[in-house]
């Protein structure tokens, strides 16, 4: 019974999660992936910060000032 294989599935690493978080901005993640990400983010401060930063980047681009208002 290879537990580590299941552990990798249930407890994704920061590397997996950060990629999923970035991908979540561009495509719909499956429900399973979303759950894994959410669980991991609850436990991992670094990944939470990462997620916030990436979302901030998105809102920054949305508010990219079109042209300098003279």
């Amino acid at each position: 019974m290879n537990v580590s294989k299941y552990m990798g599935w249930v407890m994704p690493s920061c590397k997996d999660v950060h990629r999923l978080v970035a991908d979540g901005l561009d495509r719909d993640l499956s429900a399973v992936d979303r759950l894994r990400v959410r669980v991991h983010l609850a436990m991992c401060k670094g990944c939470t910060n990462f997620s916030r930063q990436v979302h901030l980047l998105r809102s920054a681009m949305k508010r990219f000032p079109l042209l300098d208002e003279e």
């Binding site: 994704p12 690493s13 920061c14 590397k15 997996d16 950060h18 990629r19 970035a22 991908d23 901005l25 561009d26 495509r27 991992c44 401060k45 670094g46 990944c47 910060n49 990462f50 916030r52 930063q53 990436v54 901030l56 980047l57 998105r58 809102s59 920054a60 681009m61 949305k62 508010r63 990219f64 000032p65 079109l66 042209l67 300098d68 208002e69």
Partner: protein, 347 residues
Amino acid sequence: MRSYFLAAQGFFAAHGFFAAQGLPFVAHGFFAAQGLALLAAQGFLVFWSDVLFLGPHGAQAAKLMGPERLRARAPARAAKRGLRHGILKAPMVHKGRCRGRDSWGRSRTPVLIALSQHRNRVIRPLDVEALHFLHGRNEYLAVAPLVTTEPLDSPIGSQHASELVLQLNALRPKLLKFARLQLRNDHAAEDVVQEAMLSAIEQAQHFAGRSSVSTWVTAILKNKIIDHLRKGRREVSLDVEDGSEELATFDALFDENGRFREPPRNWGDDPEAALSQRQFFAVLEVCVEALSAQAGRVFMMREWLELSTDEICQELGISPSNCWVLLYRARMRLRECLEANWFNRSH
């Protein structure tokens, strides 16, 4: 038109009557019937709190819309015809000028939509989305979203067309900068900006000063860029694609267990405060320019033009997974760039 209003008034009264009697379902029925009656009015789109009807000279009003402010010339007649429920108030237009005041006395930004087959009717929607939903067509001369109740005589509204041209010329370098950032190709950027300026000058009379010049022109530019991409003119400068760029991976950020070697730090209590500072966007722009050509283009298409991944893949002829990888790399690099150049400098 008067009969429609009378009918609506009748429904309102009945609604009130039944509601007072404690018969909620009937009251709702009348309310709905009233809504339907008004909606069914030919060519009329009715919104409960912000409607302005212009009368037979609406077409002329539409032509005058640019520099002129619409003013009511027959307020008395308007008051008679309007409903007095605090919900609808419909001043009439006379000789192409009309300004409404709603029942609370707030002045309204005039209407800028003219239905093509009902040229006499110019209606201001509560919001543009609702208008499109209800009407479902694109036969409009110009559209003004309900964003502000400021007066219409903003600088552009009272300018002559030639002044507009001068302003556009002044904005040209910045438009070029944006086009280059997006298209990564100087020739294509020049073409696109040229098209955008021509289109802006053509549409100058429809620009009624609802926003600033630069916002309006940039919107035109964005559409031109999207059109350009759709026409598949892929004279892209991919020949200078740096091979080493593609090999750079972000695996080095993680140790063998998959954890961050250096967990991302908090960007401060209120990173959104950065968004209100202009220098932040200058830094961001530099970071975006620093991306590789393809990654930068894909990122701009996704985040600035706000195309979906499918559309991007279609325009550029790449596979979805390729697209996602490019976006991922762009985001990672931008994140690093911002962290190094802004958030680590205790702004």
